[in-house]
């Protein structure tokens, strides 16, 4: 049975960016407001899941030619290496530092290694959630 998915597809195209933007907002906002790598990552996964719902695996693969397992592994690597940064400077594992950098356009921006760690978390969450969805959905 072929159904007309035009409504959902159009809506998705529109909503997707809102969700993605929101997820990135939540990710960066995490250190001070509710949010962070986990929630941001999960939101992104939810957005991509919506994309999958509206379209199909092959289309999405064309849009996002990423091996999610590699994404996961990179996330793990980033998180671990960030942690080891502390070791390199003679501190304990996972010791974070933070400072304020003045960037054009953005103004005063807080830059913390914790954010890098959170980025790792974000990658892992996106990568693994989507691997899971892709695997279950793609299994015939």
């Amino acid at each position: 049975m072929k159904l007309n998915d035009i409504v959902i597809q159009t809506t998705t195209k529109f909503v997707l960016f809102i969700i993605l933007a929101f997820s990135i907002f939540i990710f960066f906002n995490g250190h001070h407001h509710p949010g962070g790598g986990f929630i941001g990552g999960l939101m992104t996964s939810a957005a991509i899941t919506l994309l999958l719902l509206a379209f199909d695996f092959e289309t999405v693969k064309r849009i996002l030619p990423i091996d999610f397992k590699i994404l996961t592994a990179s996330g793990m690597l980033i998180a671990t290496l960030t942690g080891m940064g502390g070791l390199v400077f003679g501190g304990p594992f996972l010791s974070h530092t933070f400072g304020y950098v003045h960037l054009p356009f953005f103004g005063e921006v807080e830059l913390a290694t914790a954010l890098l760690f959170d980025l790792g978390v974000y990658f892992v969450v996106v990568g693994s959630a989507l691997t899971i969805i892709e695997m279950i959905g793609g299994d015939q």
């Binding site: 959902i8 509710p34 949010g35 899941t49 919506l50 969805i133």
Partner: protein, 93 residues
């Protein structure tokens, strides 16, 4: 006064969720249940909003936004499952 009204509205919203729950359990058909779930989602959004007011905090604004998106995704996936039996297709033809 305002607090009382807020509390009453919270109670009413939860009550309507409770009624929704009855529909979810009872059915009779799956589409009924899905629609009810959507309804409960809307209820929840309003409830979180009310609670935000009761607690007088901004901490839960993200939750409201999120809930609306998520209940949309949830409804879409349930609908697809009911109509097509498969949630995500491998390849559309």
């Amino acid at each position: 006064m305002f607090a009382i009204i807020l509390n009453i509205s919270a109670v009413l919203i939860v009550l309507s969720s409770l009624i929704g729950l009855y529909r979810v359990v009872k059915g009779p058909s799956n589409p009924d249940r899905v629609i009810t779930l959507d309804m409960i989602g809307v209820n929840l959004i309003s409830l979180v909003a009310v609670i935000t007011l009761i607690l007088n905090t901004t901490a839960f604004l993200e939750v409201i936004l999120l809930l609306s998106i998520l209940s949309f995704i949830g409804t879409v996936s349930f609908s697809k499952f009911i109509t097509k039996g498969v949630v995500i297709e491998r390849k559309r033809d």
